[in-house]
Subunit: 143 residues, 4 copies
Amino acid sequence: MERKMDIAALEAFIAKDFPQVGDDFAIHTSSDDVLTIRLKVTEKHLRPGGTVSGPAMFALADVAIYLAILERIGPVALAVTTNCSIDFMRKPAANTDLLAEARILKLGRVLAVGDVLIFSEGSTKPVARASLTYSIPPEHGVK
Amino acid sequence: MERKMDIAALEAFIAKDFPQVGDDFAIHTSSDDVLTIRLKVTEKHLRPGGTVSGPAMFALADVAIYLAILERIGPVALAVTTNCSIDFMRKPAANTDLLAEARILKLGRVLAVGDVLIFSEGSTKPVARASLTYSIPPEHGVK
Amino acid sequence: MERKMDIAALEAFIAKDFPQVGDDFAIHTSSDDVLTIRLKVTEKHLRPGGTVSGPAMFALADVAIYLAILERIGPVALAVTTNCSIDFMRKPAANTDLLAEARILKLGRVLAVGDVLIFSEGSTKPVARASLTYSIPPEHGVK
Amino acid sequence: MERKMDIAALEAFIAKDFPQVGDDFAIHTSSDDVLTIRLKVTEKHLRPGGTVSGPAMFALADVAIYLAILERIGPVALAVTTNCSIDFMRKPAANTDLLAEARILKLGRVLAVGDVLIFSEGSTKPVARASLTYSIPPEHGVK
């Protein structure tokens, strides 16, 4: 896979493009196929009982695929989510960061599709899975 | 439709059960089939450009179906989202509240399924649609 | 809603475009917002016990949205499904035709989104709901 | 992973349980995490142009997860699909068998969730991805 942005460039982009939530996320690792994003869990992400909320997991999945797309096509602020299907499978561990593994399955002319698995850090059983479709400005898609 | 909770009871429940986000939402109307929930849009829900973020719309859809289920089965804090599929179709109007119309399609023994349409207030074209499945504690489901 | 094809034109299109399955479907009614398609249930659609199979319901939802799009944009054979999320909620009645009510929620430049409710004929409780996204050749989309 | 059924038992089950379509499918391989199912593509699965139809790919994804669940819990005819979200990403190769790789992500007390990637045989780029939820009779689920 050719990369248009490295980890430092992705982190700078997210800090600038998501000023209200950029601090919540960090790039954990980038391998050939998988970009792993950390949600730094704090009070605002929790529901009573200490478990991470559904919207916080959705936001993590959404950001993870967005960054995995940007890694391949460069800093295109106009890519937008058109669809997400998410399954909540297990209760996250209390007060534990989440890690989202994002894989891009298709990067086309106008649509990109990716899959995400979300884990409580230190666990091998996913708490959620999601698939997302992004619409890409035509001039930035892959012919 | 028989109701187990009226609007005042639902608003009291959400204030208590979602202390961190309860102020963001209000019951707009409840008719026989449709419960309409308002997202009181503030700075924290916005992306650059003034448009409401995807996670904020997801949270609105999730709360709307949750309350529509509680309206029918009573204050059962243990109902949990198991799946959501959401389509983002149009850019929301800038700095405008969102209204989510929630309809329950199935209320079974262990699963409930509902549909949501989200509009910018004053517009008739939906900005998003979502379908959600909730898992219900067996003793509270409908036989 | 402006219509580019009437019921007779849609039925002729499906007979020609889907030679292997066209006989399975018929246009039931077309109102301003809703196109209703009938699946003429026969032996090949059934699972043991006489209930209609999941793939047969998927096919019905897919055809219903396809025809509802064509009704608005004309006979464009190149529209293709990109995503479907379907919930199976109740067991269909045995040996009974299914009716699918299709509504188009967005008809954009390159994507169309629609919702489908499927009923066993004579029942008011939906057996399935689905949402579908179609990719439309750009020259045929709505600006 | 403990297996309750081997490949021969799964093939016997499908022949008996799906008399109308059992001949369309074959178990390709079973590894620790992945069960791979073949769709033996014939005329009835094709759309004009020789490409495999959407409903045929849906049926393949549905059968693949069903068999992956049975491999783990044994021959339980009453497991039923409750949700499927499927993305069609590329046009399948003409007149070529499809292979579906099914992974079970959760096997719970009443729900099982799995992911499927579908490939044209001989290609490494997926033509479709799907996630499915099955409802399991409580006495057969995993405590």
